[in-house]
Amino acid sequence: MNTGLNRTKWEPYVWLLPSLLLIAIFVVFPILIVFKLSFSEISKAGVIGGFIGFDNYVEAVHLPAFKTVMLNTMWWVLSVVILSTVLGFIIALVLNQKFRGRKIARSILVFPWATSLVIQASVWNYIIKAEYGNLNNVLLNLGIIQQAVNWRSSYQIEFVWECWVGIFVTVPFVTFCVLSGLQSIDGSLYEAATMDGAGFWNKLRHITLPMVRPSLTVSTVLNIIYVFNSFPIVYTMTKGAPAHKTDTMITYLYMLSFYERRKGPATALSVIGFLILCVCAGIYMVSVMRKEEEL
């Protein structure tokens, strides 16, 4: 858009400069550092040596926990993203109906989104404590169970709990994305479909889904990225114990670099994670750009 006033050629760049600098120094520069480090020899004390090619990558891939951690990451991302998308979509469909108390329900659903992940994870950590956790207390008091249940009897179950907390905090985001998509649908479309005798499923398939697909795509891709990057839940609830069996890639690389002081393979893992994210980001950008063009 041209405002019709004469501007010097470089003026727009002056306006962009502060923002550009901020991003360049604190986002782009660390990326470059991580890349450089991943090809350098790093001592335990953190002294950076010379170029050693792909040694760090080879070391990272041969770490004993590498396979478990990658599988965990996959399960973590897939289960949290898929389940929270399905749940969030259903909740959005319900909240889009008119009923008494809808505003209150929407405000309540904001809670998990606005709360710090580390606080959420701590609370759930307390809830499922076997000895004195609140879940046992409430269920016993309601008479639903007769005896205290050990809610975290094995690390697999603890991992499932971590996924549950992940889902719990991700659902509101999906819900609000889908809701904003749903609100843009013209009500007359449904009326016309009803006139033509379309049932609930037909309307869902042929009107609702196509209309909210853009919001759903954005929320899904973003969730993949954010869930992949999520650190506080796993770190607070199990710290990856026992022996990295509940670690995801992000918590593992944190442990590797800041506890075990093996910065070399840790940076290599960072780069691998970064590249995985790049693929997701690419998909995301294509979908956003396409949406921009549609508007």
Partner: protein
């Protein structure tokens, strides 16, 4: 207008309602509860099964059982053997003989007893009766009218019938859960002397229920080994009452489908809200409990027995105000910086044409993809070089940078939606570009700016990962890192942790609620999450 076919349907539905109620009563009179009550216990130490001592005790117990049988009790003998090794290394066993009596009880037998669940049952049965009366009264004289043409009285009565049945239906699980609590949880807590308050009253209640008050003081011993079992058939009550309920709804509205869908919708919403609020309930009650109560595995109450407000003053001593101030400083500074850099950039993106605009947009979106976590090592290295490690300034800069993308994206959207005519007029009047932005555009775009502002603030406030890596001294911790100090390897002070969490959560949740509406609009276009 009167419709004979409406009358026919209403009569059918009334019959269905009555049938449902009759089935409910039949189920309630079946012996669905069974209790095993130990009426007599004899322990025999240092015994082996089959030896002389065992035989003697066994005969003694048989005699007692015979006595009970002659009084008309239905008793049986159970023996439990507990083997143990004494200090000399010999294996001995402790044999416990229990004479237990099996009681079968129907739901209706709870009526007229003094148990708390009896009251619930009385309510349930009266509600069922009331529903029947209301339905019949609501149909009288109007049973051939389409529901739409009902008079006020008919509508009210039919509504009451539906409500009464709905309440009766809800009381079924309440009644069953209450019995579980009374006969197993409370009884075992009293028997183990974990609670003593109201013990006598409780036992006299049970005495009255099982033995019509004959047992007196002994009832505590007798009920020591009480076992309660409920037949799964009891859940059929829900079904029979539901049949009556649907009939009542049909009488009220003429059809059932939309009412059931509506009901299902409310049930779903309530479940979602309860699950969502559950952790916040836990956080709140735990924040005001004493340390002993937070770690008590037999803790009985759903709320603190005593609200320990001193938890709040304790965390003040433990540095929480300092952490809160740090968080305010970091989040506030990051927000200010993100806005100072973001507004001009968004303005240029919205109002100017230049080479590389698309590239910059792509650059911004890309930067939003990377949570700082994957770059942790790079960031800590960079901060070392800049001597910003372990400073609040460093944390502030990182937060500002990683929130740039959203700020620009949302602000640009707001600016584009505002027509540029006013600014042009201002510029013709002699304002520069800067004047036009600050005096005209920013006031007009205030809602969008506030939304972006609050969102960036909340993101920075809730940030945890970078802070754990960058901040190494206690006095520089933001609140998210600060709360974790209450959990050390061997002791977790949950009450302090959650009191601090509560302080950290309440303000941001309120802020978030205030922008939720604006945020949803900018979301799918801006595509950002906290």
């Amino acid at each position: 207008m009167r419709y004979p076919e409406v009358r026919r349907q209403n009569r059918r539905m009334l019959l269905l309602l009555i049938l449902g109620l009759i089935l409910t009563l039949v189920l309630m009179s079946l012996p669905l509860y069974s209790f095993d009550v130990g009426v007599y216990t004899k322990k025999s130490g240092n015994t082996f099964v089959g030896d002389e001592k065992y035989q003697a005790v066994r005969a003694e117990v048989e005699a007692v059982a015979e006595e009970y049988r002659s009084q008309g009790f239905d008793v049986e003998i159970r023996e439990d053997v507990l083997e143990r090794v004494n200090s000399k290394g010999n294996t001995t066993s402790l044999v416990t003989f229990t004479i237990s009596e099996r009681y079968s009880r129907s739901f209706l037998s709870f009526l007229g007893k003094k148990l708390p669940s009896s009251t619930v049952l009385v309510f349930m049965v009266s509600l069922m009766g009331a529903a029947l009366v209301f339905s019949i009264a609501g149909l009288a004289g109007t049973d051939d009218l389409v529901p739409r043409y009902l008079n006020r009285k008919g509508r009210l009565l039919r509504n009451l019938a539906v409500t009464a049945l709905l309440l009766a239906l809800l009381l079924v699980p309440v009644f069953m859960l209450m019995n579980n609590v009374i006969f197993s949880r409370r009884l075992s807590l009293y028997n183990a002397d974990l609670i003593t308050e109201g013990k006598e009253a409780f036992f006299s209640m049970l005495d009255h229920f099982f033995f019509d008050g004959r047992m007196g003081e002994n009832v505590g011993d007798v009920l020591g080994g009480l076992k309660i079992q409920r037949s799964p058939m009891a859940w059929l009550l829900l079904l029979t009452l539901f049949i009556s309920l649907t009939a009542a709804i049909c009488i009220r509205y003429g059809e059932i489908k939309s009412s059931l869908l509506r009901g299902a919708l409310y049930v779903f919403v309530v479940i979602v809200c309860v699950v969502t609020l559950y952790p916040y309930y836990v956080m709140t009650i735990t924040a005001f409990r004493s340390n002993a109560e937070t770690l008590d595995m037999y803790f009985l109450h759903m709320a603190p027995t005593r609200w320990v407000w001193s938890n709040l003053t304790d965390i003040v001593q433990r540095g929480v105000p300092r952490y809160l101030m740090n968080s305010i400083f970091v989040a506030g500074g990051a927000t200010a910086l993100a806005m100072l850099c973001g507004i001009p950039a968004a303005y240029a993106m919205a109002r100017m044409n230049f080479v590389g605009k698309k590239a910059f947009l792509g650059f911004v979106i890309m930067s939003q993809m990377f949570s700082p976590v994957v770059l942790l090592i790079g960031i800590s290295q960079l901060m070392n070089t800049l001597h910003l490690n372990n400073t609040l300034w460093g944390l502030m800069l990182i937060n500002a940078a990683f929130n740039q993308a959203f700020a620009i994206w949302l602000l640009r959207g707001t600016f584009v939606s505002i027509s540029s005519e006013m600014e042009q007029a201002a510029m013709i009047d002699g304002c520069g570009t800067v004047g036009a932005l600050t005096k005209v555009l920013i006031p007009m775009a205030a809602p969008g700016i506030v939304t972006a502002l609050i969102f960036v603030f909340i993101n920075a406030w809730n940030e945890y990962t970078i802070a754990t890596v960058l901040i190494s001294t206690a006095q520089n911790r933001p609140i998210t890192v600060g709360i974790t100090q209450f959990s050390s390897f061997n002791m977790i002070e949950w009450q302090y942790m959650f009191a601090a969490s509560l302080l950290a959560t309440i303000p941001v949740v309120i802020l978030f609620m205030s922008i939720e509406k604006h945020l949803t609009a900018g979301l799918t276009s801006g595509g950002v999450k906290g």
